[in-house]
Symmetry: C2
Subunit: 360 residues, 2 copies
């Protein structure tokens, strides 16, 4: 049986605290039948809504984060619909490709993968010409370790009558998000990042205009959202619900609410700063450009010169530190420290930085 | 926190034994990175293949059983494809509707919901006229408590060049299934029935002709099968894998293999017989017709005359016994005892029958 790494620094799945594992230890009765399950569902949804800064409905599904990405696109869009993807990294590019894969006409507003959204004038121009049904963006571009400011994009989306859908899988619960104030119609999250639970559950908030579109689209599937619209009132799920998974997610939410979301967000910011300062002290170059916003949940840096990613990873692993590589064009070039959820701890980061120093 | 019922007799999710819960207690490292995870995936797949009687590939996905139902239909079929659904109950009817929902031309071969497949001549006639791309059937019709014999249907499907897809969610691991001998191309299962794990994982076997069709269809989504074709060789999942869920499913498979599948299947048959005999002794009428095959995993019976289903359920619950109702046209009329997986125990059935006697 494999044990968690001595110094876990992957950008998800993160190390799961005992109190969250404890929630999975029970022999629960049937979630289909017990009002206790639906109460837990409602409480967990309200807690998530608080972390997402929304009064919209929150739906919680059984499946990894990719489930809600597909759920949002397939439930809201039909072939031929127009989608504008704000691309500042691999995940944003992938979201655009997913929309294209279901037959949408997709245009991408692309920045370099070490940049974050800033001057939106060219994007707004594109938007005026294209009139998309939906704008999609990624809040925390995990592979790049960057965080896109979204407030202005949401305002623009609303002005143009486009739905605004945001992948915030690796930021919800670690970063202050104000979905309603920022005009986000569909906000996507997962259990294994800042919520510190295993990768079994995913969730999303859905605005009234998004619900309208979902009803109109009428999509059917495991990832269909329609059946979830009335779950609170009717106490029926489209499939047997997973009590253990919901209980773990609930424990993850409670952990944040108990400490206080503001304190948790501040802690993420502090540890991220500690990480960036520490890396720069060691002469390791950060990946995000100086004028972009680094993510408070994950830090991306260049693999030190004179060593391959595989060697670097092996050296760190030999000392107990497990970090992430990156993906696509960043693979082999960028490594990442995930300091989100249970891993946003100053002491853990101190240990990680000590290993990095030794390994250089 | 809700505790499992004193006498759990729901036809899934079943009571989860301690040894399976124990597998979920660990703080596992990243399933994306560790070869231990992929070894566990391969071992679990081989164990499931043995229970399914197949040498075909087995894919294990994160999500409830409905996930693999959609995965099979959407990955194999395109709009306009022809599907013949053998309908002997609510689930078979629903599978046909799911295929229609994705744009297939669906014909249903329907029997009364208390019957099982027998004389296939009229179905074969339909098949000759219709030449379907796929035949779909349900092995254990859970809402009816019946088990369809499938060998002859598989032979006919093969003769006509149709793919044969079977929902065996509530029979795999409790009933002898010989997918290869019976000519089943796609066999669908879930974790929370005879495998005695929580409802987090689902799995399916895929024959070479089914893989060919899946490649041709090119479907994309959370439930897409293409990315899983090479998971053994390449060690990559289309999303972050769920180690806790796989470990629970693995523990469920091992539990059966340790006791011996033949012994486990025999035990299911014995407890089912005990259930049917016990109910009939109490004057409770069985739902399946005398010339149909009752399921060894779940028994359906008529709610006693002179009492509503809601009253009946309440009386049983008051004595610690929780049974299932039924669905669709059987709702309110039929109740069910699920004696599958951990619940296929003679002593538990004796307790259940004692409660039923008291409650009459």
């Amino acid at each position: 049986m494999s044990a968690m790494y001595p110094i876990p620094m992957l950008p998800g799945p993160v190390s799961v605290p005992d109190e969250i594992l404890a929630a999975m230890r029970h022999n629960y009765p049937s979630g289909d039948l017990e009002t206790d399950f639906f109460k837990l569902y409602a409480i967990t949804g309200r807690g998530l809504a608080r972390l997402m800064g929304t009064r919209n409905d929150v739906v919680i599904m059984t499946g990894e984060g990719m489930l809600v990405l597909w759920a949002a696109l397939k439930s809201c869009l039909k072939p031929g619909d127009k989608v504008l993807a704000a691309v500042t990294g691999i995940f944003g590019d992938g979201l655009g490709d997913m929309a294209a894969g279901i037959g949408c006409e997709v245009r991408k507003f692309c920045l370099d993968y070490n940049k974050t959204l800033g001057d939106l004038a060219p994007l707004e121009k594109m938007l005026e010409d294209f009139s998309p049904d939906m704008i999609i963006a990624v809040h925390c571009e995990t592979p790049s370790g960057t965080l896109n400011p979204l407030e202005d994009l949401g305002r623009i989306a609303r002005q143009h009558g486009s739905l605004f859908c945001v992948d915030a899988v690796s930021s919800i619960g670690g970063v202050d998000i104000q979905a309603d104030a920022w005009g986000i119609d569909v906000l996507l999250g997962g259990s294994q990042k800042c919520l510190s639970a295993p990768p079994s559950m995913s969730f999303l908030s859905i605005s009234p205009p998004a619900w309208e579109r979902i009803e109109r689209t009428g999509y059917q599937g495991y990832d269909a959202l329609i059946p979830w619209r009335s779950i609170d009132g009717e106490y029926t799920c489209p499939y047997t619900p997973y009590w253990h998974g919901l209980a773990a997610l609930h424990a993850g939410v409670q952990r944040i609410l108990r400490e206080g979301p503001e304190r948790v967000f501040a802690r993420h910011g502090e540890v991220a700063l500690q990480c960036r300062d520490g890396l720069q002290e060691l002469g390791i170059e950060l990946w995000p450009a100086p004028d972009s916003t680094p993510a408070p949940t994950v830090t991306a840096a260049l693999v030190p010169t004179g060593i391959t990613w595989h060697e670097w990873r092996a050296r760190l692993r030999a000392r107990g530190l497990v970090v992430g590589g990156s993906l696509g064009p960043l693979a082999g070039k960028v490594f990442r420290l995930g300091h989100m959820g249970s891993q946003a701890e100053q002491r853990l980061m101190t240990d990680a930085l000590a290993v990095l120093r030794e390994a250089l």
